[in-house]
Symmetry: C2
Subunit: 412 residues, 2 copies
């Protein structure tokens, strides 16, 4: 990710940083049986997204995930299945603070990694944290001993009487919501937990507060972006899915096979889809330098001109499979079949099952394949209408990424 | 909606209740140009959903929406277009409190309606409030003079020093988030605003607090459901859309035409889709008593057996149009074409445009028409696979309600 703040470019992390990720929540507020951190988003548990957010940061050396004992096996399966490399799972304690402390202790016992200078504590259910903000937390924690994310209050906070009446309302200017991530030097977080009472372990909620109380450390507060929000309620699952899908739908490349007719359609499509908020690159094929698209977060639109045969799109699927590119999220591949002769339509019947068979096999590898047929018309008004519909269908398929619709041949 | 709490069944509202709906927000936190209350959800502005939540409550006599002067015309258009009947729009003031006071004053000036005993104040961007909770607020406000919704705090609230350090953290057990709706007797809300200072009008945030300060009224606080949440950030737009879509996708009726083959498919579909969380009723047609389905929040699945002709589904579209049933939200109509002979596939080419033409016309009336072809197979394994896919596609189409895919004939 780009660093938008030029001052940050001068910050750098030249000390070991590790992460503790408590993931013991039971998810009662979503009203679901599965704890939120294990809910699937396009086939992948939420916690894997959060792990990925840390794993891709070069200066983070390792991540300790703290889970309930009964979920250790599940967690190890997730680590293996999604090929996480910096992660170790340790069993949690009976409260949040005991779990975090277990994680901190585990960091000190690592054999191959140095004891970290700074520990970042985060929630498994805040998957959208960005490198830039982690950098600020790490550097500020190193400087001040403790640093924490804050956000403005969304609602007015009020104090209530024991009988359930309004006592008074708090001044919003002087109060903030305390969020995650928080960062601590290793010494301070250890000392705070070593010195704190059983009652703190049992009822305390704020690590920052323990650092203040037991180490005299004044935690520096940093206002974070709205993306730090915590997946809490059932509605948050939909919000998270929408953010993930939006990220996956930002760019696609159109492959023309170098054909004039296909290139002209690609150019029209680029014009129309551009206004729909997706970036399209046009390339003749995926050979040579263009093979790099297979390793990026791209979706693929293959334009084929007659004869009706999905062999080009099959090659894309094979290439994606070999790169293991769809491991972490489904890739959308759209086959646009540009027919020119009136007779072409009648060929569909016999061939359509081939597209479906291909799609069902690709889906097992997390590649979602859809087909769209567009008929070339010499009537320019009609052709423009078709291209517009092609653009709308293409965006909808890429953005909605519906598993139920793979293998269909739609009509533009 | 059903009243889940048996105690509530004994509560009743036999006094005039009116609503003030401040809708002057600029929506800066969503990062969009359109203020949130005017953002479209399936073609309808959010505020219309909120208005509907009040309008359907029999004991609410009228609603005053307070909007910025420059949005009065827009608001009147919305009222007319979505046929709201209890609504009047008045111009807002320069702050939230001035706007609410304008709304309260407007209630006192109504010629045809009595001055209300109780005024409910709500936010235009909390569209999911339920009758049961409104009832509790109204009755409690009548009894105590003022009543307000509260929610548990999601994050720990902390006090900050002026230098940006942690001062202390608040006890979560003694604090709550103050939410909407709130209710007041008309006399108390009037008196509070008549007596309060310019500074209260300018900087105050809590109506409950004004009632306490200027009328000595102890507001009774009532814990509300999570659905009271306020659409605030961009992610909340996705969450709101998902809730609306889920509500619209709860039930569908399958129309069999009384044919044995169709009825048997319908029964299989009911079994499979039932496990996918949608309720399906099976009926032979929409005649007589069954016409009631046209006036309910149902989606429609028409099963037609050969010959290939969408005339039955056309009749459903016509009936829905005549009932104006799709005024407030799009209705999904799925045409399932059950083909039996091998030859049937070849007929598609010529007929498909008819389905698309029909779908494009229906879309103008907010009816989303999709087609699915299923081929009857005597191989029972193959047939079961087809029925399963039919169920998956049907649920996906009804739940995703994609405007770009109307008129397509998909293959099960
Ligand atoms: Mg904490
Ligand atoms: Mg208020």
């Amino acid at each position: 990710p780009e660093r938008s703040d030029p001052q940050l470019a001068r910050l750098c992390v030249d000390f070991p940083v590790s992460v503790v990720l408590p993931a013991g929540g039971t998810g009662e507020r979503t009203g679901l049986h599965t704890p939120k951190q294990f809910c699937l988003f396009m086939g992948r548990p939420l916690i894997s997204y959060t792990i990925q957010a840390f794993e891709r940061v070069s200066w983070i050396q390792n991540i300790v995930v703290v889970v309930a004992k009964e979920n250790i096996d599940l967690m190890m399966d997730i680590v293996q299945r999604f090929q996480h490399t910096k992660v170790r799972a340790v069993p949690g304690g009976s409260t949040r603070h005991r779990s975090i402390y277990n994680g901190v202790l585990a960091l000190g016992e690592e054999e191959e990694k140095p004891t970290p200078n700074v520990v970042i504590i985060h929630d498994a259910v805040r998957p959208f944290v960005e490198e830039e903000f982690l950098l600020r937390i790490a550097v500020t924690a190193k400087e001040h001993g403790a640093a924490g994310a804050i956000r403005p209050l969304v609602s007015t906070v009020i104090a209530t009487t024991s009988e359930g009446y309004l006592a008074h309302s708090l001044d919003r200017a002087k109060h903030r919501a305390s969020e995650m991530p928080q960062g601590f030097t290793y010494d301070i977080i250890c000392q705070a937990y070593q010195m704190c009472s059983e009652s703190d372990f049992e009822f305390g909620t704020e690590c920052l507060h323990l650092a203040l109380q037991y180490c005299g450390t004044n935690a520096k507060l940093i206002e974070g972006p709205p993306t730090l929000w915590k997946v809490t309620y059932k509605r948050d699952l939909a919000a998270a899915e929408s953010i993930i899908k939006e990220t996956l739908s930002k760019s696609a490349c159109i492959i023309t096979g170098g054909l004039t007719l296909a290139a002209s359609l690609a150019a029209s499509l680029q014009k129309v889809v551009g206004s729909l908020d997706m970036e399209l690159d046009i390339i003749p094929d995926l050979k040579g330098d263009n093979a790099r698209y297979l390793s990026k977060k791209y979706n693929f639109i293959q334009i084929s001109v007659e004869p009706f045969s999905p062999c080009e799109v099959e090659a894309i699927v094979v290439a994606l499979e070999s790169k293991n590119q769809a491991l972490l999220h489904p890739v959308a591949v759209i086959w646009v079949y540009l027919s020119t002769a009136e007779s072409s339509i009648s060929r569909r019947g016999a061939e359509t099952p081939t597209l479906m068979d291909l799609a069902l096999a690709a889906k097992l590898h997390n590649i979602f394949l859809y087909g769209i047929q567009i008929h070339h018309s010499k009537d320019s008004e009609r052709w423009e209408r078709s291209v517009l519909r092609l653009a709308e269908i293409t965006s909808a398929l890429i953005q909605e990424r519906s598993p139920a619709l793979v293998g269909q041949l739609l009509q533009a």
